[in-house]
Amino acid sequence: MQTKRMTFPGRWLPYALLAPQVIVTLIFFIWPSAQALYMSLLREDAFGLNTTFVGFVNFTRLFADGTYLNSLSVTAVFALGTTLLSMSAALLLAANVNRMLRSRNLYTTLLVWPYAVAPAIAGVLWWFIFNPSIGIVPYVLEMLGYRWNHRTSGVDAMALVIIAAAWKQIAYNFLFFLAGLQSIPQSLIEAAAIDGAGPHKRFWAIVFPLLSPTTFFLMVVNVVYAMFDTFGVIHATTQGGPAQTTNTLVYKVYADGFVGLNLGSSAAQSVILMAIVVALTVVQFRFIERRINY
């Protein structure tokens, strides 16, 4: 690890400076994470009176459990849907804003603010709009011949949580796409224009490939967002239902641990989630470091 060539002497001072962060990290991060690892190997009864060491039983049970496998596929659908929807909408908006000169800042301001809305609030807003008895969208859908009800239809419930989660994330993707677009050298685009390439051709042949590092970075960030930061969206709207159709992995950790009081299983699920995040982070660092360019 690099340092400055010249540093301060000091025997105790650096430790004193590090102490606050290290203490907070040890107590509220390292200790609970170790605890989660340990608990995942235990089986505890609902009252916490009896604990037995069971090794990897919690893990093997999970993968034999239909609701867990269901939750895995629910998470995959949810993460994929949210990522695709928010990234494609953001790219469309960013590409068009990038063509503007005078109105660029106005559009940007109008598009970035949803970033500040909490996922739970985004959930409540869309839940209200899609409310089967008074909502506006079900009213319109009814005229088109579709009976919307996210309380009974799993497909409707999934669409609701994807829309709410993606809506909030568009602002973030938009900013990164816009920054990516602005860093593409204008000379390349001009050269293509002189060769007779129209705007669409230029976008797909030149701009989009040059955006690939941004796109890849956003893909990883969005999958992480959809998997971990959307607890609020789900808790405030469908609560995992109807019939487990929106029960994502993070929501299940909470539901099994705090509501179902099955601590061993919940801890095992936490450990699996940790492994997923670590893997995603490693992938992200690897590829961002190498800067994929076609």
């Binding site: 001072l13 907070v24 390292i30 609030i121 809506w167 808790h235 705090f258």
Partner: protein, 282 residues
């Protein structure tokens, strides 16, 4: 623009206006709903133009809240959210400035070890290790307190890494000059490093404030005493009641009040916000 294409330009504007309308739509609906009288919702569809009950709805929520749903006044919850967001923001800024300073400007045994110890926290959000973290906080007697609401969320390293990156770009000559003038490390930190970092601190402040304000699961778990409810989690309690009997006008007034502070922060500090966002993530 490479070439002049009025039609293409017009199409781009139309796409953007449609996009902005879609992005704004939920908020428009919420604002309209928050200005209605309770009876409007019994008719089955929501009106699309604002009603005349805005003042009374907002005042009701600010002063008394939805008491039958067990939710305290929104004014009080907003105050709790503000305290929590500021404590998280200031806490993170202070500990990460200090530790980044130590890591960049000193050479000491186990430096790399501490670096990695802090680094691993980048990876795991609190949602993942939620139960053991809850137990630690309960064991320390920090349930239902501002310390319990904020301190566990301070343990993350994003800010440390941003400051580390930034300190690495500060020219060596500044340190040499300070040392020639006889400045000690703390003096250098206060008189040179802090003033140079002001823009970064401000940019990060915006991001961290929004992060703290929008916390949901954590306050939901560790506050059982309604005196400590934050506004984002408090709304969930209201919605469970509102779905039964139509109190939507009041819930939406609370939603607007809960979303407004962070949105205003972004709108007024947009330049700093974008800087903070792109630098923390890349």
């Amino acid at each position: 623009m490479v070439e002049h294409r009025p039609l293409g330009q017009l199409a781009a504007h139309l796409i953007l206006i449609a996009g902005v309308a879609l992005v704004l739509f939920p908020v428009y609906v919420a604002i309209v709903a928050s200005t209605q009288a309770p009876g409007e919702f019994l008719r089955g569809t929501l009106p699309l133009v604002p009603g005349g009950h805005a003042l009374e709805n907002y005042r009701t929520m600010w002063e008394s809240g939805l008491s039958q749903a067990g939710a305290p006044p929104v004014g009080q919850m907003l105050f709790n959210s503000l305290v929590m967001a500021l404590a998280i923001t200031l806490g993170k800024l202070v500990i990460s400035l200090l530790s980044a300073f130590a890591i960049v400007y000193f050479r000491f045994p186990f430096r790399t070890f501490f670096f990695w110890l802090i680094f691993v926290t980048l990876m795991l959000p609190v949602e993942v290790r939620i139960i053991p973290t809850f137990q630690v906080v309960a064991d320390l007697g920090m349930l239902n307190s501002f310390a319990g609401l904020s301190i566990p969320l301070i343990a993350s390293a994003t800010a440390t890494f941003l400051f580390r990156q930034f300190f690495m770009t500060i020219p060596e000559e500044l340190l040499e000059a300070a040392r020639v003038d006889g400045a000690g490390p703390l003096r250098f930190f206060r008189d040179i490093l802090l003033p140079l970092s002001i823009t970064n601190i401000a940019a990060l402040f915006v991001i961290l404030f929004i992060y703290g304000w929008n916390q949901y699961l954590w306050p939901l778990l560790i506050t059982t005493d309604s005196d400590y409810y934050t506004v984002v989690m408090g709304i969930q309690r209201m919605t469970t009641a509102a779905d039964g009997d139509p109190q939507w006008h009041l819930v939406m007034a609370a939603v607007v009040m809960a979303a407004l502070p962070p949105v205003l922060v972004i709108l007024f500090m947009q330049r700093l916000f974008v800087k903070g966002l792109t630098e923390t993530e890349k």
